[in-house]
Symmetry: D2
Subunit: 342 residues, 4 copies
């Protein structure tokens, strides 16, 4: 299997350098007959784009157009069962910004590692270690979302920031997430502290600083019995999926690390089941699934080439990407579950 392919039944192969000709993805294994809703694709790409909503001023200034072109796999509004290829061409490349990088390393960036590993790398804007690679994932995730909509209509995947730097959602704010329009908050942080977060990030950007944070993915009404023992438990594949996103360094299911200091009789002995996060024995129970992902502070602050253009916090932008990865894992396991029983 290639390093750029993800999934076992619903698979995607991602390609493209951030300052190359195009980013793209090929989906293989999507069944025939899925209604292709281009609105979903457009919306998700728009949501991934920096500065797409109120948060324009607090994220990286790069303004990619990100117009998807569908190359194959769709005919008369439905999937054909053949590979679905989609690309987005790179326009605002500004690769001149990056010419000086060839000489000096971008400290804290993955570029160094890739360069030394492969002996040859595209120094312009991080090549494939750039966050721009996630365009491919968002396109694929949109198709997975279309498929799941058709077979698991009530399911919703809701991503939001639960922490940005020092600011965290309160318990009541978390409980209300399901009723909020997350994208209406400048940093996808659904809180009365919305403006405080915006101010925090603006200040960081001005000062050449950055913040880490935590994103949460809540899956409501998921299908039960997704996940395959033993190496492809639903939690394992989700952990892999999320940890494949740049700048991530932590993953939790349900209570996660917090559960390590709770006594078993307290943990298990309640009527409530949310401590399990909706997955038992690696398999979805049908209850809501709750996942958390931590991000380190953006490293591009160290980057001479990005003066004033860096993202002061990656979490807001990463949310549509994490949602995409969630849809992809669920789509893969949904198809996989079709062969559980004879």
């Amino acid at each position: 299997m290639g390093a750029n392919t993800f999934g076992s039944r619903f698979t995607l192969t991602s390609f493209g350098e951030s300052h190359g000709t195009a980013l793209g993805v090929v989906i293989d294994g999507c069944p025939a007959g899925v209604s292709f809703d281009e609105m979903i694709l457009t919306k998700e790409l728009e949501r991934r784009r920096p500065g797409h909503h109120g948060s324009g001023q607090i994220v990286s200034g790069r303004q990619e157009a990100d117009q998807a072109e569908i190359l194959s796999g769709i005919f008369e509004g439905k999937t054909l069962g053949t590979p679905i290829a989609m690309i987005v061409r790179n326009q605002d490349a500004r690769s001149q910004d990056y010419t000086q990088i060839k000489q000096q390393s971008r400290a804290g960036h993955a570029d160094d590692m890739w360069k030394q590993k492969f002996g040859h790398s595209d120094h312009r804007g991080g090549g494939r270690s750039s966050g721009r690679e996630t365009v491919s994932r968002v396109m694929a995730g949109a198709v997975a979302q279309m498929m799941l909509k058709q077979v698991c209509a009530p399911m919703k995947v809701i991503g939001y920031a639960s922490q940005i730097g020092p600011l965290t959602l309160t318990a009541e704010e978390k409980a209300q997430v399901i009723n909020k329009d997350i994208d209406s908050f400048q940093a996808r942080f659904p809180s009365k502290n919305d403006q405080a977060v915006a101010d925090l990030l603006k200040k960081a950007q001005e000062e050449g600083d950055s913040h880490g944070g935590v994103a949460e993915i809540l899956i409501t009404n998921p299908p039960a019995f997704l996940g395959q023992p033993v190496f492809h438990k639903l939690k394992s594949d989700l952990a892999q999926a999320f940890l494949s996103v740049g700048a991530t360094n932590g993953f939790e299911l349900g209570l996660g690390f917090e559960s390590s200091s709770i006594k078993g009789t307290d943990f298990h002995g309640t009527r409530e089941q949310s401590q399990y996060g909706g997955i038992r024995g690696g398999i979805s129970t049908g209850e809501n699934i709750l996942l958390r992902v931590s991000f380190k502070p953006t490293s591009s602050i160290l980057d001479v080439a990005k003066k004033g253009r860096h993202d002061p916090c990656i979490v807001t932008r990463a949310i549509p990407v994490l949602e995409a990865m969630t849809y992809l894992v669920l789509a893969d396991h949904y198809l996989w579950s079709r062969t559980d029983r004879i």
Copy 2:
């Protein structure tokens, strides 16, 4: 790919029910010419066994003999490049303990989920959702360890408990881990609080209670440049590997969730690099790698069949399993890296 296969180049396929005939594993992709050191295999199986060291009294009373039988792939003390199959027969099955389970579900256990998913399950002792399945992983991990010893001799994989219930290692104790004989501590918790932990666990066992905890895996002197962009970053594959172990619900690399509240200038602006956990851009830097895994409190406290036999805390026993998974991921990526450059 099958659900019970792990890895891309150095692959293992695990099989066996906890109360079936045998547990086993087939390794495919191990190169020819690896010296097979049966001592390592025996030692690791022994380390995985409940009650193997001082901790006898604080872990599950089941006393499996766990004698590995090598069925193929080894000849005259060296690997042949052919599949290496190994099995351990089940002896102390006590499946009579479990006959009542057929009628009543084991609340909190994965058994329910598996039963409903597949429509047919081996109710005896959890079948494949049992911790006993990890015997297969430990056998495979031992072979991965042998291979890595031959090519990355200075590398060490050190697992230990950093938290058990309310008790955590101090900063100084953590810093000393590398100089300690972890297995000499009753709960693999290398601390002056060794006895306090033992008392805590004994009390929990007597009271039918349990504790969660955190295990850490420290890899010293790892090879640099392991990990493949973009979906098989070293951190992604490690996260998948660890979250495939039962009762896990969290993963961290380096500072993990803690980094979410540290400013970028503080996080990145030091001489020290340990905050990154030894992996940058998804690729090992050659620095020490630090990984953390959280475990929920054992659910077997709820289990009528396990009166007085349950593990009051799974962390101690899980450590050899996490080490095995670490070796497996590293072995896979070591072989993979051989084709990075022409």
Copy 3:
């Protein structure tokens, strides 16, 4: 993927050296709820065994007992959806016969190649290049057969020799194959020339000579629409499966090479469709599938270690193996087809 794994949904991993401890196989991906019919397993192993039917005197004298032991995956007579592991221990190893081989190469045998490739090999009896490896395939094929019986009951897979050395079935004999008890013929050559073939092979064995031949696999009443475009056409996967069997050097679907000299108007312009061999565009049509496999003459005639024990013709013995590979490909594609449409 490992080299010893076959299939995408219904996968098997084969292991074992011919003179090692055991041969075995792990099946992963077989759905739960398949009735496990041990009679089929026993019968197929028996059919693979040299000298199992009247042909005792004309095939290799090695008398393996070939008792399968089921290690996992079956409970109360049904598959669990977990990996099914089965082994056969080696008994009549006679490895002393092979000790001299360590010094002198077995000309014409694959041993040389494997030895040089891997730098280390099990010289005893060919190790994994031995025909004995096919025990694993036959065990897995038996399980595939059980699964298909449950979902495609009318289907039959009928293998027979259509040519042995200079002797070939007549057109009428071929047309009658479906009504014959193939195993009642000494060399699975369903012809009035049964005795002539037996005499031919006996003579070859006495003279230290051997013959090649052709096996045909006829699949009656196969499910339609099996096969996946473009690299996993049913014909491609069957070709791979058959050419993975030792001593094979040719494959045909339907008319095969003969069609190369027939004009298109003649080839396509008939009511009859058998020229296509039951597969169009790589997908099964539901019509009978006809496949042919050629075998070179046994090379073990050159083998000092096998004085008087060599098979004078491999075709007869290979038939249960080819049938097993056929079942495996069909089972894999049957499961795969479950995700063709949403």
Copy 4:
């Protein structure tokens, strides 16, 4: 694994419908540092194109421009170790020719099967069952060729027609193949009967008829020890590769079916080794490899939409495709062999 992905280490994923927006391919696993020679890519696409050489008048009239656009993976003339994506846009689609097909089935075409299997299909020009899909393979094969040139410089892959309808190469002509400029022959049939073949095909086209044939692939100076036991023998993977090409229905290695009537002492007892076809025990010996593929007569003669545009014989056009598949299998196994030994 997806149905449109081929290979294990050097993998390609093919996409595109014949009358969709574009055909394309993503190569994953090509090492960094391979010199990208665009001339090879252009030349191979040109060689695949109908009517590219003298044979213009005897193959399908469709004149695709087939300009490859490289989307990723190449930087400053070398591969990056990242996925290499390439597309060719469809121009001369003439899909109006095909509108009537929606109503009436194209007898003898794979379209019917695909339509019924998936419940939805692109009826225009065969969609993905069209020969046009092979553009993707030829692009990927060109990159495999570049890589192999760098590491196995002396190797050559030479494809040619050895039979077209009733006309076959003589033994002397075959022996001279290595010294001929195959593309200078109108139908890639390197014979004094070049003109007779051209006349035969012209006549068939005029009469709405077609011919089958046989292509041979000769690999001179291949690396030794390529191929993996037991399911990925070099011959197995080549058989799968070739049988994945449309209209193929037979495969032979070395003497193939002819060997079935040769006595073992004659077959094995010569100084000459060419009867083995350069592969023993599934592994390349370093000797020349000879492979043969049979093709049924073109079915498009039955196709109302292709009046006067059908290929009277597919063999000539298929040769660059078979060569591409050969390079791909060799590249995959070359990389695989890097992990044979520790």
